[in-house]
Amino acid sequence: MIEVRDLQVRYAGRLVAGVPELDVGAGECVAIVGESGSGKSTTLLSLLGLTENADISGHVRVCGVDVLTASPRRLREIRGARAALVMQSPQSALSPATRLGVLMRRALRLHGVGSGKDGRLDEIMAESVAAVMLDRAILRRYPHEISGGQAQRFAIALAIALGAEVILADEPTSALDVTVQAEVVGVLRRLREERDLALLLVSHDLALVSTIADRVLVMKDGEVVESGPAARVLTEPSHPYTRELLEALP
């Protein structure tokens, strides 16, 4: 679903993210770990063409679309509908003055999902909310009226409703409490198994990553220093930096 070759993202000439190779297939979960400023988010955003004034080179295919050369229109078509984003801060990622249901409905209309009869639309919305274990009453709420875990689960529900095949998650739980984090991670894991979703997860929490990811990329100062199956990277790190990361864990 995601295919990256020789991706280089620069801000004002400075290389902030360089990824030689990254592939995520359906039903797979790949994690990018690394410290603050190492270019994790930048990598993720560039996959959807969401970086602002960055120079990007290389080759990126997401859901069969060449992101770097696609027209803005084409790009907008895959955003959300095929590749969905879940962000770090739950509440601030939702427009404060828009009811959740309205947001979802607008997004569905935008991509022509469930168009035609209204009943179908409502059905899709209800199903997607149920899939992340939320009550459908939540659709009538405003973002500030729900908890952080609910907000994150709603963001995932959006992806489901739109029929996304890929979920890109940028530190989706770092603003959450561990108890709540466990829940969101649980939902992600379930969806991956049940729906064959491809999952690209950005995190700085090695322990968390180890529990969910198939493969791991370790980034430092804008470069991938190590990558491979999670089990291997986290047990037999080859790069000293990865080792340091692991040692820092309690």
């Binding site: 603050s36 400023g37 530190e171 770092s174």
Partner: protein, 288 residues
Amino acid sequence: MTSPQETTAEVPLRRLLPRVPDRFAALGAVLIVLIVLAAIMAPWLAPYPDEPRPLEGSLPPGAAHWFGTDQLGRDVLTRILYGARTSLSIAVSVLAVSALAGVTLGVVAGYAGGWVRDAIMRVTDVFLAFPALLLSLALAVVLPPSVTTVILAIAVTWWPWYTRLAASVAASIATRPYVDAARCLGVPAPLIVWRHVLPNSLTPVLVQMSLDAGGVILTAAALSYLGLGAQEPTAEWGLMVQQGQTLFTTNWWIGTFPGLAILVTAFAFNMLGEGLRNALDPRARKVT
């Protein structure tokens, strides 16, 4: 996790200025420098002394008098140059007085919180309820019209804005961990306000001041225009527009050039202020 972000309130202006990417701010600054220079150099730049020559009458713009002369035969350009002194000194005095009073009160209100803040803010609200021009009008009626009156009158209506601004900034500064830390060290409250709260509250105030300078000049001009401000024979732009007003159809230059002078100066300050604000924080605004 992301590193703690510096909030714009605390970006020192000094650190920001050299890399202000805003063309408006730059252009505004250049214009202001020119105007200030013109004001300082007025006696040398002015082509004529600021004296009436009534028998010559009012001459249209020409080679001898670029901006023409007024009813009393005074050179309009000369008076605009001298008027720059009046307008700028009004703006500077008003802003200095009101920022001093406003920020002092505001910082105290913001830091102290509780009833102190409530009391100060209610008083501020009362003054805010009077639109600047109206209270200035009332005051200008009380005091004999003069430049000093204008300065006082406008300052009286202007300080609450700074109190509000400073109070809201200071209130947020007061909850910063570094203020808590200072309190825990046992630094006395006045010293905390002076050393930590005040300097960190100043940037938005300074931006607001440059935004306001234009407004002050306009208000002062409006007061003079209503006959409540500067008085003949002081050269003041609002007064000059007012004098030229009835001659707009016949001797257009008498009122038009001073009007343009007001426009350009207010515009320059607005450009600087808006540019700075834009560079600093798109949301920092007059209304709080």
